[in-house]
Structure formats: C-alpha cells, structure tokens
Symmetry: C2
Subunit: 214 residues, 2 copies
C-alpha cells in the first residue's frame, strides 16, 4: 500500500521528459514491473485490443526519429514503448478472449455464450458504425495513463508522445501485416542532467477549474 | 518511491468492482489525493481539455442508473467521477492555457507566441478534420488510467465504465450548456463483501501475446 503523500509526490515528480540520458538503462527488475503493468492494464470488457512493442533496435529507432517530429526521445530513451492497437478487432479476437476466460477461470465456452454474444454485438456495431479502431485507441490511452503513473512511482521518467506519423511508424515496424496500427508512444528511461524542462513548475489549471462537485 | 513488488501487488489487487459497499466512504485525505491525481494528469500539449465531475447528490445518481445499463455502481460507490471533455476545444481555451503557463512559470504571452500558434494550428486542424472531440476523449482516458492506478495504490476500489448513454448523462448533468460531454465514468469506493468478482482470477492475455520486442 502506498500513502497519499507518496502517490502525489510521485505524480509531481514526473514530467514529459524532453531529453533522456542515453547511457542510463532501466534495471531488469523495474522494467519487468513496467511490462507487467502493461499486461495488467484494464480495458473495456477486458478485450485488450492491443500489442505493446518495445523497440530496442537502435537502427530502427533512428529511422523513427524523423517521423517523430525530430524528437530524439524515441532514440535516446532506455526503453521505447510503441502502443499499437488492432486495426479491426475481429470476431476471432472476441472468441480468443472468451477462450482465455475459460483457460484462466475454468468453465466452458458454452456457459459464456451470453457474455460472448454481448461483446460480439458491441464489436460488430462499432465496426459497422466505423468507430472500432477509435475505441481500441481509447483503450491504449488507459494503458498510457497507467504506465506513466507506474513509471513515476518507480521514479522512472517517461514522455507520452502523440507527435509522430502513424503511417510511417506502421510502415517501418511492418504493422499492417499484423493488422496493427500505432496509437501512441511512450519512451521511458532517465532524464538527462541537462534537460531544463525538469526544473520547470508543472502547468495545470487549478482544482476549481477542472473539478466540480455535483 | 514505490517498489516494483508493491506496484504490481496493487495492480493485481484491483479489479472492475461490480458491487460497492454503499456504507463505506473514502476518507478525506485519500480522496484529496485522488482529486489531486486528476488535476495532475498529463495531457497532449498539457491542454487538459476536460472537467471532472464528482457526483455526490444521491437523487442525481439514481437518475443516472437506468442510463448506465442499470449498473448500481454509479449510485452505490463512495465517489462518482464523471469524466467530461470539451465538445469543441476553442481558440480561447488554447489562449487560457497559454495564460496559465505565464501565471505559473512567468514570462509573457508574447514570448510564447510560437508555442501558442503551434497548439492553435493543431486544434484548428483537428476541428476542421472533425476529430477534435475524439482527441479530447483520448486525453480523458489517460486520466482514467492514472486514476485507476492511483486508486489501486491507495487500496481504493474503482470500476471503469463505458456502458452508459452519454446523451442522457449530458442532459441530466446539464453539460451542453457548459460545452461539455461525458467521455467515461469511474465510480470509486470499497468493494462489497458479497462481490463475487473480487475473488476471480484476472483474465489477461499472456505476456508473449501482448508484448513484443523489436
């Protein structure tokens, strides 16, 4: 259990790291915890419409820099997480999740038919109405939020990044062949001593502006 | 600082709470930390295109239940967070954020003109192309991910909920008048002793399925 003070101190410590120290790597134990936090991320219905790529090949990372608005974080971080989602979550994906339920909790696929049909109905509606991939992206942002908080608690730096060209990432990482597309990036590692952004006060609207009791 | 073990133990402890104990309320100190974690949530450009409603009026909560697929969590939780986003983030919103930068960090609006124009260019493009509200919703899901992780670390239960009728929520909470719309819900509190879902193993795909090194 964490104290409220420790939680807030961690969230205040974090910032969108502009410059990573390329020499500092996340230790194995801490990285394993971050990977597990990705695996444990909650998602709507539990469907987990994602794959998280950890891009460690330096040549690939350098290829990604010009398609990341030139931001060096993708090359200089310790671990680069590329959050991808399924372009078209399929009926087979729903059935794979139902099977996973049975594998983990026991029971039978037949007993879960009502649950399965409800999820498939949702999926089919989203596909027909054209917002299935967008829904998958929303789920990826839950993973992003949880990952950034998890990293901060471990005093590991991160930089959430929307500033990149998804089509180029998909091409370089050969994602179309897997039916995936890039949703958002999260380089992780340790801030450089020279990153002046680390010392700047955090800019947030005040509590009264963003929170309202009803 | 939190240990990797504590982080993972917290994330494993959490689950989508199906039944809250209506008699148990989150203590003030813990609630204040959760509110602060909402305020501190990172967002793209830092624009914070949201307002978080904490709906505590029991009559309003009961009105929301039928529009939440009958799920009692919205009425029985300790604190109901309704995450709303701006329907159309405006140029004035961008300028308010720039002003907030100046208030917090000093300097002048004039010195931030390049930064302001970059953000406004992004906003205007999103508006023209019709994905501005969807982008705002993505940011709300970062808040959802961080809030669920924060709650778990404090051993407070939560239930992320997409199963509701946004138009009805907007109507009951009078959000259209404020230019807001409901993105996602997060009731928080303490699990009921009778919630059988608390004891079920978590269903996640295995590490090899959702994580891939490149």
């Amino acid at each position: 259990m964490t104290t409220p003070e420790e939680l807030i101190s961690s969230l205040k410590w974090r910032y969108a790291t502009k410059s990573f120290d390329p020499a500092r790597k996340i230790p194995d134990k801490e990285w394993a915890a971050l990977e597990e936090s990705l695996v444990l991320t909650p998602s709507s219905f539990g469907l987990q419409p994602w794959k998280f790529l950890v891009v460690q090949d330096q040549a690939i990372r350098e290829q990604l820099v010009p398609h990341s608005w030139g931001q060096r974080q993708v090359a200089d971080c310790s671990h680069l997480v590329v959050m991808t989602v399924k372009q078209n979550l399929s009926t087979a994906d729903v059935d794979a999740f139902v099977q996973r339920n049975v594998d983990v909790r026991g029971g039978s696929v037949e007993a879960l038919k009502g649950y399965r049909d409800m999820m498939e109905g949702f999926r089919a509606k989203a596909e027909t109405e054209g917002w299935l991939q967008q829904w998958a992206k929303l789920q990826a942002y839950i993973a992003l939020g949880q990952l950034m908080a998890a990293a901060a608690l471990l005093r590991i730096d991160a930089c959430p990044m929307e500033g990149f060209v998804p089509a180029k990432f998909d091409e370089i990482l050969n994602l179309n062949a897997e039916g995936l597309t890039t949703a958002v990036l999260c380089p992780l590692g340790y801030r450089s001593d020279t990153d002046k952004y680390a010392a700047l006060p955090k800019v947030r609207f005040d509590r009264e502006t963003v929170i309202e009791w009803r």
